[in-house]
């Protein structure tokens, strides 16, 4: 076949050829959009006026994408105001459990009512606030955040759905891999075998060198789970589903706090000795070092949290901005260029997806290793 020789070039050429057609249809859309926004204006009383020009529309879209959301919207048609996706259950603890579908919010355009309580989704942060029947929202002058009461929100949000999907996928993949060993006489078979080298890699290159042959076994489950969990969610984030789980601070916080807890709960005497009474340095230095070392205990997981969050968050923003540029340029050259750029960046983001999963696992293993380290330094001092 002629095409299969250069599939990449062919796809690129085909997509570039389609670009001008797309920009034509967009111009029509934009003119129509203004009208729909006016129509919406009546419904969304009390909200900020939605952006009308392409630039601010893209900005708002990116801003919404990186946040969590109460419904799973795959795409939306601005012309008709139609959303393609599905609503998710909202679970609120506010004087008793309030459960209702997020379709009640009408994508943030309406006020939802449940057992005589009124809730509204704030346009800026996507969070649920308690309100009155009219949906009044008062905003703080300095920060711009609403001052309304926030009920405890246990909703099954888009991020919860995606982590649940990732968890199910992982469970299916790895339990089938585990079963295939017994069936196939100790050799992996099926789709799960793709991941067997990664499992072995985590064991041989991450766990054993950092934790040590003696203790690594008890941390393997955590390290493997966190590696694949972060990797899968990073990769999910690159699909057009619009998921941004590992670029969500809450997710990275919960992952980092687990590493923090496991490190400190399994730490031995030697680890605490190194923090509060550093061996091998003069006594006054030990007093100075103790608070620094103690601070380090908290900084380590904090850096884990920020690193993963910032990398994925920034990746999504940059990638979406460049994709958005295509619609701003609306020209042969500019749109093609930003398509090429976003294509290259997507490949880079795949690398980042693997890299960040690896770094998170690697550093977790390093911290576990320091927690169970034996008396190396004191032995060294005797020599």
């Amino acid at each position: 076949m002629v095409i299969s020789n250069k599939p990449l070039r062919f796809i690129l050429a085909a997509l570039v050829a389609c670009l001008p057609l797309m920009s034509f249809s967009n111009t029509e859309k934009d003119s129509a959009h203004v009208q729909t926004e006016e129509a919406h204006g009546a419904v969304s009383e009390g909200h900020h006026a939605e952006p009308t020009d392409v630039k601010s529309k893209i900005k708002a879209f990116i801003g919404h994408h990186v946040l969590d959301s109460h419904d799973f919207t795959l795409t939306q048609d601005d012309e008709t105001g139609k959303y393609y996706g599905f609503p998710l259950p909202v679970i609120i603890w506010d004087n008793g459990l309030q459960i209702f579908s997020s379709s009640k919010f009408n994508h943030g355009h309406s006020v939802a009512e449940s057992n005589g309580n009124y809730y509204v989704i704030n346009h800026h942060d996507g969070k649920i606030y308690k309100t009155d029947a009219e949906g009044t929202i008062t905003e703080d002058e300095a920060t711009g955040h609403p001052t309304n009461v926030r009920p405890l929100d246990f909703s099954i949000t888009k991020t919860v759905v995606s982590i649940f999907a990732a968890a199910l996928l992982m469970f299916w993949l790895f339990s089938s891999l585990a079963k295939s060993y017994a069936k196939n006489g100790g050799i992996a078979s099926g789709i799960g075998r793709i991941f067997e080298p990664l499992v072995v890699y985590i064991r041989d290159e991450v766990a054993i060198p950092n934790i040590g042959e003696k203790h690594y076994k008890k941390y393997m489950s955590y390290l493997l789970t966190i590696f694949f969990f972060v990797l899968f969610l990073n990769i999910f984030g690159l699909t057009p589903l619009g998921i941004n789980a590992t670029g969500n601070l809450t997710i990275t916080f919960s992952l980092a706090i687990l590493t923090f807890l496991i490190t400190n709960l399994t730490a031995n005497k030697n680890y605490w000795g190194h923090i509060f009474w550093m061996p091998g340095v003069p006594k006054p230095m030990r007093i100075i070092l103790a608070p620094i070392e103690l601070l380090g205990v908290f900084i380590k997981p904090f850096s884990l949290m920020i690193r993963l969050y910032a990398n994925i968050f920034a990746g999504h923003i940059v990638l979406m901005s460049i994709i958005g540029l295509m619609f701003i340029f609306k020209s042969w050259i500019g749109s093609s260029l930003s398509f090429g750029l976003s294509f290259v960046l997507s490949i880079l983001e795949i690398l980042v997806a693997f890299l960040q999963a690896y770094i998170f696992t690697m550093l977790s293993a390093l911290y576990f290793g320091s927690a169970v380290e034996e008396h190396h330094h004191e032995e060294g001092a005797h020599h």
């Binding site: 969070k127 929100d153 919860v160 790895f174 339990s175 891999l177 585990a178 809450t250």
Partner: protein
């Protein structure tokens, strides 16, 4: 920092921890433990197989060395045996030669001794014959002398002629 804290969502945190810890525990039981056990077992199996192959090779080498050694020993033994046989043969030949020589010598000696004794016996015989003859001559002479002088002389001459003939 304030912005980061604002982004924190307790409900999401709750679900994430619940799902993630549940996932760790489930995967630990149903996936990681069996996978790592199987991988370890397989690696151990490979290690064992390699080791036994190495052992078999070593054994084979030993066996070959043994065979070579036995072969060499057998060859050496054969050589030694051949050499011994040759030596024995040479010794036997030399021995028999010596013996034959000695026997021959002895026979020659014996023959010589026999000849000597025969000669001596013959000489003795001759001597006794001569003495007998001399006596008979002397007797005859005496007898002749008794008849006449002439005949006596004739007789002596005749006798002497006889002796000469003898």
């Amino acid at each position: 920092m304030e912005k980061l804290i604002y982004q924190f969502e307790f409900g999401l945190f709750f679900w994430q921890v619940l799902i993630f810890v549940g996932l760790i525990l489930l995967l630990k039981k149903f996936a990681w433990k069996p996978i790592l056990d199987a991988v370890n077992e397989r690696e151990q199996g490979i290690k064992d197989a390699l080791l036994s192959a190495e052992n078999a090779r070593q054994e084979m080498e030993n066996l070959q060395a043994d065979n070579q050694r036995i072969l060499n020993e057998a060859r050496a033994e054969r050589d030694a045996m051949l050499k011994e046989a040759r030596e024995m043969k040479e010794k036997m030949i030399a021995d028999s030669k010596n013996e034959a020589q000695a026997q021959g010598q002895k026979m020659i000696e014996q023959a010589k001794a026999a000849i000597e004794s025969e000669k001596n016996a013959a000489m003795a015989e001759l001597k006794s014959q001569v003495s007998t003859l001399s006596l008979s001559i002397a007797e005859k002479l005496l007898k002749e002398e008794l008849s006449n002088k002439e005949s006596q002389t004739k007789l002596v001459e005749k006798m002497l002629g006889d002796v000469k003939l003898n």
